[in-house]
Symmetry: D2
């Protein structure tokens, strides 16, 4: 338990907020970071960085705001700064697009910033944690393998569709082992950002293809569900086949999943495994953590994106329609909020985990720790 | 070759149209029958039957018309008659709901009418053909097993989601054998009829459940792909697991399919099997038959309901995104027009097949045949 | 200032909550009442009444719940009771449909219950207040004209489209006088209740007709903006022409308004009149009252239903695109949340107003007042 | 009657097709031209011109095809050429965006090409006809005022929302005079082209603003309904106030219109004026002309975009809900297909009119005429 950790316990003495920068602050993910961090008890936005085109403008002018609530007051008049490594903050969230995230995140890590990234670029890199705090909180140890001189590091959260799937697979993996997974996703438009999908392609239509998505779903779960051993991740081995569709839904990725388990199991046991899942970090009291990660629906028509996507403020995962599968063993439906749990909210939870683990500190303290 | 058959060849002499009745004429499927039969070269609507509530009114008043084209002129002012077995027609199409179809269709068959039904009630009955003319045209022979005194019989078409799936499975079954099928459907709202799904449940949402649908998809293909032997159908054996979703699309059921084949096959062979599929009834020149049943899309984003559902006037089936599956063998996407090929259009094609096979005749001739 | 009033001041001593019944509790409006009252500081649901069909069931079974948040815990297991005048509560909210509201509300008023109704039946009755608390709070005095023996009365809130329009007209009427109003509405699907509009009619479509709506918009504003004089309302005289459309939006009625003012005015004066509007009841500190009723948007693309409907928790009214009109004088756009401000939320605010005015009391005190 | 005219009569001798070029062939409007001209009896596409970026590619590669029918075979493999004035064709259709249309259309006119434009740039220019063939066919005479040396000229069709409105106003203007018009539009997404409106802005939403649209609706009708006198147009004088909204509809602009007439009129007379409208060019037998321009709906729920937009193949105009207006005189609803009648289809009809009037000729003959 670190110094900071102590101070963060509810009962502890007053503590300073950590100063957060947002990379790609004007984009769709960046805006969601701004929204989620507006009233955050631990983090305070002190830097908004974006492309040269936006730099110099006030945030309210630079961002074509797409949220339904207004721009948080504290941020609306902040100046947007360029993507340079002299941001006034203790760490950065990255909502950058994959096109620029590779270089930019490397630059910030090298400059000593912890980078909490939503981009895909470093997710599968061996020494970069691919985190879901309730699933693999110990994987943060990988940051010690990263070789940046000045205390910086990169951690990532998974693809928005991967998150829900992995949360549902975890209890099955632990209890029975998972051999194979068939998953068909029905993904919301917000997953493509703004402007993203043209309304002429979306309205009353399904697009049965999302570039790169099926690969991510096939590969990321193995790493997340993998075992940390000897300082590295041994990937879980399971065959995953994904078919991804874009549907005219605003928020909420639904996945129809079918699994083959390692050992013979009864339906009731599967339901019990879901219901019994307990987060290993529940005693950390992270502000963004759902009270309960998995919500099991027994009624036939649930979960539905529009009705249930805000489970636990968008940080919960809905599971429904559990039943036997005629081809593999069991099938069920998973719902996850793609821009909250599947993107910005997941990244914020990652940062909270790192705080509790003593890996995210005010820069001055970080400097002291590094020096000691 | 029958007498009638001869007269129907394009080169043959002029022939009388067959007089068709429509059961459930005011409902969503009934309306589609009216629309499709408006300019039909062989069939002419002479009777519109519906519930007592509608009977006696003119069709334009009784039907809450939902089509985008106006009510065909020839039908708009016809009187709707009650569901009694004295309809003035040579045969009937049934667009009745399952709740009333069981009794009503039996009554009409017993009264000597050929009943071309879209309802689910008799689909799995041993002596009732479950027909897709391009797939199992020989199954019509089953009608000879039906024991109605006066020449009536019942034939059925499959569930709207089953149709597309079976059309795609047929060439694979013939070439390689199909062992197992995983299918997730994204089904259009029109499949639920009118008023059907509430707009508050549909807009921007997915409902991951459609009552009874998964069972139909699991069981109907085995019968359709079965072998006629000794006057009965030996069902094809393959495991089918379906997950059905209602999506905010107007027309067109999309299915994400994954198959396990009986023998080891290369991707190119699978594509070739699809491309080489030839309808066994192409020389029948049925008016509603597509020139080509299967349309293979090689571009990544196709097929899409809104763009491709009217392939071949809605009678074609789109197949796309063929690729290897990490769990079973191959996966692909199938699109079918649910209210045309999957309902009224499929039934009309069934009737056309029966005409060609000499099983559907003007009543007077039918009486002669029966007497001879 | 009444006894009760005193106790309700924030600084005052603890006070008992009033016990509220909900008539039509299982319908769409009834559900919204349940949702809004879940955490209400003054009101507590003690009775849920609905048709005989629902009576006797637990609320969670009787209501086909359409909300996106779950059924409030305190209510989910309450028994639904029939619509009889022996409800265990101090007053009732009515979310009944117009078909049954007439008789039922009369019965409850006669039995001594204050009836806070959202139904249209008594809105235009001379002695029934048609209330928007920020616009005509003094109109509650009309209840003294109602002749129910045992202390009951009826108050109503306006049609969901009328509300937004009247809120926008009020400052203009006060400052310049309003001569004529042209209004075209684009109304959300939730205004039609559940199941309401069929998805086949709604998706990608506009229905340019809503039964009875145009009349309500033409007649209700005159009463609401009328002057209370000598115990009765002198209706404001202004010509109003409405064209109503149903659009595929879930929540939020948008209205395109054009007004002819009584006196010549400059655009800046009109904007100032909107901006300067101050609620006459702001010092009542009603829990559901918005801090600011009118929100003026200066950017061209606002307000939009999906982005701005939750202004002030759905109790604010958005005004945008103010500009000169080539035919009348000025035109602008108004947005109102149809099921919150325009229905259940408006009714709850009405009840809060009545509490502050000493017109809504615990039954025992009401009995004392009546006896005195 | 011109030479050409004679040859074009159905009874006349065989005639060569005119060779059409399309400017901006890969855009949304250009694609609609391609679709409409696929089977045109008089015109044959011989040149597809687009920006440098597309030039050199085959049309099937250059155009991101958004139509629901496949790319017409005859065009799919044509090479796209750059926007230079040496196109191999007798005249050009312009589907260019306003950004480039100004310069490009001038260049083509100067080079001797008749330019049939859908762009807004020259619509209000004094010597450029702004045409709706059924409304002001004589306005084509303006081309004689244009001063291009080599026989080229420019004609335009109105904004997609203007078209429907003007078609409805014409009979009223002729019979009673129109003094003032209030119009609120509910416009389809396809009016913004592809990609156009982001699905995140469109789905379940209304955007109450369309840049430049209200001005066009206010100004274009005066010119179209104006009188040709002394070789120039005397604009009709009527005040028009427009409020424009983008709604989640794919095709079909709906307008809620209210009119003040010059002389006192009864409702029946207004209806009769609509019903009696006869196209002045009906005896021209133009291939794209609707049999009847105006379709009057008497049922309350019509016209609706999704049900009625394909009236007369998209070239008809629907009028419904005619009734008295409480502020002006009468109000009604108008529906027009925005990409057919309101864009490409309207332009093709303009070209057909010009052919009949002898103003559009094969280049060789045109050269002869010019020389004579």
């Amino acid at each position: 338990m670190t110094l900071l950790d102590e101070r963060l316990t509810p009962q502890g003495p007053a503590r300073p907020q950590l100063r957060a920068g947002i990379l790609g602050a004007t984009g769709a993910v960046g805006q969601k970071f701004v929204e989620i961090l507006a009233d955050h008890p631990w983090f305070k936005i002190t830097a908004l960085a974006a492309s040269e085109r936006s730099a110099g403008q006030r945030y309210r002018e630079a961002a074509r705001w797409i949220g339904s609530a207004p721009i948080p007051r504290a941020v609306a008049d902040m100046k947007v700064v360029p993507l340079r490594d002299n941001l006034d903050c203790d760490f950065v969230f990255s909502g950058l697009s994959a096109r620029v995230a590779g270089e930019a995140e490397r630059m910030f890590a090298a400059a000593g910033y912890p980078v909490i990234s939503n981009a895909r670029n470093y997710r599968m890199k061996e020494d970069v944690p691919l985190l879901i705090p309730e699933i693999n909180p110990d994987h943060t140890a990988l940051v010690h393998n990263q070789c940046w001189d000045r205390g910086g590091y990169i951690v990532t959260n998974p693809n928005c569709s991967t998150v829900g799937l992995v949360c549902a697979l975890k209890p099955l993996q632990d209890a029975f082992g998972v051999d194979a997974v068939q998953v068909t996703t029905l993904q919301a438009l917000s997953g493509a950002g703004h402007p993203g999908v043209s309304s002429l392609d979306a309205l009353g239509n399904v697009v049965p293809f999302i570039g790169g998505e099926e690969d991510k779903i096939a590969t990321e779960p193995g790493k997340i569900l993998g075992m940390l051993a000897g300082g590295r991740i041994e990937h879980a081995t399971m065959a995953i086949s994904a078919q991804c569709n874009r549907v005219p839904v605003l928020e909420g990725h639904l996945a129809c999943v079918s699994v083959k388990l390692r050992r013979r199991t009864r339906l009731g046991e599967v339901r019990s495994a879901f219901a019994a899942f307990a987060s290993p970090i529940s005693d950390y009291n992270l502000p963004s953590a759902p009270r309960s990660l998995l919500h099991i629906f027994d009624e036939a028509h649930a979960p539905q994106p529009r009705r249930h996507v805000y489970l636990e403020g968008g940080m919960g995962v809905g599971i429904g329609r559990l039943r036997a599968c005629e081809v593999l063993d069991y099938k069920f439906v998973v719902l996850v909020h793609n821009t909250v749990r599947g993107a910005a909210g997941g990244a914020v939870l990652n940062a909270e985990l790192l705080v509790r683990q003593g890996l995210l500190l005010p820069q001055r303290e970080a400097a002291l720790v590094a020096a000691s």
